[in-house]
Symmetry: C2
Subunit: 237 residues, 2 copies
């Protein structure tokens, strides 16, 4: 089986080409990355009672340029009305469908330490089709705990009890992450969200995204240092 390497959270090469037979357009990876933000803003607008929204407004709320927003939406098809804007609920439906959020995505979290428990407690998971169906840990003193109504099991038992698992979330120490990923993949999991600071090797047909606190902080530090240098130079020069 061919194996790719997935280290960086936002792979730039994830352009999404639908099958040629399909008349749907290619949706660029960069666009896919922004759709969730649009969706969220639209949901808030909808709850606030808005029925329509113009690209300028939605763009402003989500922090992108209006031209970019329009181009992004244009990949989903043409749903705006010139002179008026977009129908909020129609756009919600459209993005929801495009992202696959009408489907049911059973999620397993492996590693019920601090992070795993925080994720399990996070309500936002439950919305949008994501459903936590299993919690796994290896530590005998943790196995058997009930977290958010779900029992913590050993990974093997969790897998045995859940034939279909769409998404695996890994929140174990980094040195365990690879073997856990291997077991998830073997069980048919094709989407992995990895919190451990390690590059997972998985087959090409498996999608890994990484969330790395440390990376985010370091990027912030880089910019902060640059600001400081600029300021120092300014003061001197």
């Amino acid at each position: 089986m061919p194996r790719g390497l997935h280290l960086l959270a936002s792979s730039r090469r994830d352009r999404c080409r639908l099958l040629p037979q399909s008349n749907k357009r290619v949706v660029p990876g960069a666009t896919v990355g922004r759709l969730p933000a649009y969706l969220q803003a639209l949901t808030e607008l909808s709850e606030a009672g808005s029925r329509r929204v113009a690209s300028d407004e939605l763009a402003s709320v989500t922090g992108v340029r209006s031209a970019q927003l329009r181009k992004d939406l244009s990949y989903l098809g043409t749903y705006g009305v010139r002179g008026v804007g977009y129908d909020v609920s129609q756009l919600i439906d459209e993005i929801t469908a495009e992202l696959g959020l009408t489907q049911d995505w059973p999620v397993i979290i492996v590693g019920m330490g601090n992070m795993g428990r925080a994720l399990a407690a996070y309500g936002g998971f439950g919305q949008r089709g994501f459903r936590i169906v299993a919690l796994a840990d290896d530590d005998p003193s943790i196995v058997g705990d009930v977290v958010q109504g779900l029992p913590v099991c050993r990974l093997a038992d969790s897998l045995a009890a859940n034939e279909r698992l769409a998404i695996g979330v890994i929140t174990t120490p980094a040195d365990q992450a690879q073997q856990i990923a291997d077991r998830l993949v073997e069980h048919g999991v094709q989407s992995i969200l990895n919190f451990a600071a390690i590059a997972l090797r998985v087959p090409d047909n498996v999608d890994v995204r990484r969330v790395d606190l440390s990376t985010e902080l370091q990027i912030l530090a880089f910019h902060a240092q640059r600001r400081d240098m600029a300021k120092g130079r300014e003061g001197v020069g």
Copy 2:
């Protein structure tokens, strides 16, 4: 004060231009985003006893192409030796300096719920110059708790007690995030890591990065759906 809007975690426009007087090169934003990964791989190599590493090897470990790795490193200056590779510890020093990790970055975490506590417990923070110096929360039943050796204070008290705060981490509910960001900014914080699902409005001189679980899951779902569609079509056609 001019205000920008920062919604997406990885703003594509964050190219980093050093001052003209400086002879250092411009480091593209995409490169900055990969440096932490290189640094981590190098640290592991160093701990494993490697003194030198070739671009092919380091690229393979971090999941990028070797040409890209070399180009990335070339922005830091020329530190490789042709025919041999790179000196591991020298490269570590170089990247560390470039990212500003030789400096001290005092961090405050605001919102000591599940996520905030998980972050406070996360050891990886302490390395690399990041130092958690304050924990803040509003809930009277939480204020006064000692988490990881630090007392939880009200935000106002935390700010009063810490004149210099370089990085603010926001782990409160989304509806509180903006006002907390405002207070952090007012106190001089110029780097914010936002876990709340909301686009923060901050002045141009403030850098916001967002970590959003929900976004990551939705991107995974998009790709998973695409895979399923491809498979379904394959089976049918």
